[in-house]
């Protein structure tokens, strides 16, 4: 069974980069472009890991994180915040709600893989 990862970011560019980073691994990717879409995808797919942006239209990442943690079926899904904003209040608020890790943009794909690999199993796809 592939590891399921949900990437929630309003930037198509970031979703592409995240998808590219996990391409060598046995991972099934899902996407959302705002918190509402992210919550719906989380409820539908029950991913093993969510990679979540902070600033998004319609519903931001902090609100989505709060709603995830309020939902008994979704609250155990680990979340990595992936954002350019590392201001003190933001980080403290997010840490209080509960995240497994935090990655500040810009990031190297290796850093994302390393942080994700500490939380879920990332198995390399066999060479074709």
């Amino acid at each position: 069974m592939p590891t399921k990862i949900l990437s929630v970011d309003d930037s198509r560019t970031i979703r592409l980069i995240v998808g590219k980073a996990f391409r060598p691994y046995d991972v099934q990717m899902f996407e959302g472009s705002n918190g509402e879409e992210g919550l719906a995808a989380a409820a539908r797919e029950k991913p093993d890991l969510i990679i979540l942006d902070v600033t998004m239209p319609i519903m931001d990442g902090v609100t989505m994180l709060g709603k995830l943690k309020e939902n008994p079926e979704l609250k155990a899904i680990p979340v990595i915040m992936l954002t350019a904003e590392s201001g003190r209040d933001n980080v403290l608020q997010i840490a209080k709600i509960g995240v497994r890790d935090y990655l500040v943009k810009p990031f190297k794909e290796d850093q994302l893989i390393e942080k994700a690999g500490r939380i879920v199993t990332l198995q390399k796809k066999p060479a074709v």
């Binding site: 560019t13 904003e85 590392s86 980080v91 840490a95 990655l103 943009k105 810009p106």
Partner: protein, 243 residues
Amino acid sequence: MSDATNYQDLARKYGFAPKLESASRLTQLVARQDSDVDEIVRVINKDPVLRDRLLRVANPDAENPAEYSVETVEDALMRNGVGCAMVLAMGTPLALALIKTFQTMLSLKLEFVDRSLTEPLENEHLLGTIGFSGRVVGAVYLRMNLSYARAVAAGILGLSPEDMKDTSEILDVAGELLNIMTGNFKSNLCDAGLDCKLQPPDMKLSTDSYSPVTPGGAMEHMAFRTQKIQVFVDVTANPWHDD
């Protein structure tokens, strides 16, 4: 445990890069309307890069330092106001984020250069704008020739420039570049008590190379280049805007 200590613990746990002390200190000082100008002068004089940049901002028409009419940090602040120092403090995290993004995502070493050493922009070029408002108002403008923006977008997405035929894709990648830069500098402002909100980036092709200055504020023009790419960033702000 205090929030500040907690933040330091979290920053270590998450592996955040340390913040640049002089820029953070300068932002905190300028954020206070009753701040001590002598202290601001001391902080800027201690950092040769900040000092050079302030003098450049204070002498907007000079082609090089030999033409400066304002030659000291004290004079620059007296003549142009402390808002000048705020623009510097804001420009530092922007510049660092841009340089780090190029290094991290493209393995390119982008250098901060004097604008007089760069080639002029093509008539039609990429323009990205992000406005911000709150306890400080202003805007950040990002400009690049389209051919450079295409190369940057292709590099970030792991494609060849020939694959980047769709201009909207190039604008989207450049918009994220602008988001990353401004997200980093917003953190610096908020940490200094200048809470503000960023507007979504407005990305387009433009033939207008004029960046409007925020009323009552100051403007810094910054230029960066590698051997093959030039990037221009303008930042304007008024730190004491009344909502």
